[in-house]
């Protein structure tokens, strides 16, 4: 899923400074699962903003609504009844796709991102997420024991480990495991070192961001 986290409250406050009517919009997709922008997080942010406004003696209304998803036009359409209520600012608690879709659908509205979108990853434990995919557009993890060196090696090396690998840890930080150490260890333990040995060719990055912003058209699905 897409992993995101809420922006610092000060930054969010700066977006809505002087505004009287604010709508906080959540998303029931990835950001609900990673506890960044679901119904609960919308409630918490809206409550904090109301408390802040009350404390300052400002008369500010902060409403809440959570959409099924903010990356599909049909759900974005559902917000029309709220937009009709004329908000001075709309805070999207989706990944960055959400505020972009909202801005396109409601061009006259003042839309702000309330989250920072961090990476594509998974939960290692409740409350701990780690990056696992970089959306390079050409998955090759089967060659590396089911691990992705494109994402999880700091240098995206196709033939690792590099000289910076020490004790299973990457040279950039003691907090970062060397994925190449894990890949090599897995092959060794399984006695398949010969499968590990082949030199991998230079990766074709044309399917990645190097080819510019990407788009997929599936004719069989297009109406």
């Amino acid at each position: 899923m897409i992993i995101a986290e809420r922006k610092p409250i000060d930054e969010i406050k700066s977006f809505i400074e002087g505004q009287k009517k604010v709508l906080v919009v959540g998303c029931r997709g990835c950001v609900t699962v990673c506890n960044a922008g679901g119904t609960k997080e919308v409630e918490i942010l809206a409550s904090l903003l109301r408390l802040d406004a009350q404390k300052e003696g400002h008369d500010v209304t902060v409403d809440e609504h959570t959409l099924e998803r903010q990356c599909d036009p049909e759900y974005i359409d559902e917000l029309v009844e709220f937009v009709d209520k004329k908000y001075d600012a709309i805070l999207s608690m989706a990944c960055s796709v959400g505020p972009q879709f909202l801005s396109r659908r409601y061009p006259k509205e003042n839309i702000f991102p309330a989250l920072n979108t961090n990476f594509i990853g998974g939960a290692l434990a409740h409350g701990i997420w780690a990056e696992h995919c970089q959306a390079c557009g050409n998955c090759i993890i089967h060659k590396f024991g089911g691990m992705c060196p494109v994402t999880r090696c700091s240098k995206s090396l196709m033939n690792g480990p590099c000289g910076g690998s020490a004790g299973g840890v990457c040279e950039i930080s003691k907090e970062v495991e060397c994925i190449w150490h894990l890949i090599a260890t897995k092959f060794m333990e399984e006695g398949k070192l010969e499968q590990f040995a082949p030199i991998q060719p230079i990766k074709d990055w044309s399917s990645s961001r190097d080819g510019g912003p990407r788009k997929i058209v599936r004719e069989e699905l297009v109406k």
Partner: protein, 141 residues
């Protein structure tokens, strides 16, 4: 009638410890301030940040969560989770200019009636010293 500020305090009390301790304090006829309104929860692991935020929005001057002694949670680590949530919220409140001391976590066992009374007194005194919630002050103005 005295003009002294009487804070409104909401306490989220776990049924296995502090709620029973409150009963014991009552049976022991212990005196403590009447400012605290108790909300029974099945475990402090049920405590959620939003519950405290709603209390503050509704005009509470202080909120505390009272759970079992660490290591004694009926659900293993509910009180540890609650402690982290309280710390998280204290930090968020601080960032919007509300004194973080308005939210606190306490630990006690069901047999600690006197400690229950002591906590109520201590927290009430702390909140009295802070004065009314900055949110409420403006609401009244």
């Amino acid at each position: 009638m005295s003009d002294e500020f009487e804070p409104r305090i909401i306490a989220f009390c776990c049924q296995y410890c502090s709620y029973s301790a409150a009963d014991m304090a009552g049976s022991m006829r212990l005196q403590y301030p009447t400012n605290v309104e108790i909300v029974l929860i099945p475990c402090t692991g049920r405590f959620d940040v939003i519950l405290a935020l709603k209390a503050f929005e509704s005009g509470a001057d202080g909120v505390y969560v009272a759970g079992c002694l660490e290591g004694n949670c009926h659900f293993v680590d509910g009180n540890i989770r609650a402690k982290k949530r309280v710390a998280y919220l204290a930090n968020e409140l601080k960032k919007i200019g509300i004194e973080p001391e308005r939210i606190a976590m306490y630990n006690l066992s069901a047999s600690m009636g006197p400690r229950f009374a002591e906590i109520v007194t201590e927290f009430t005194d702390n909140i009295k010293a802070l004065g009314p919630s900055p949110v409420k002050k403006k609401l009244a103005a």
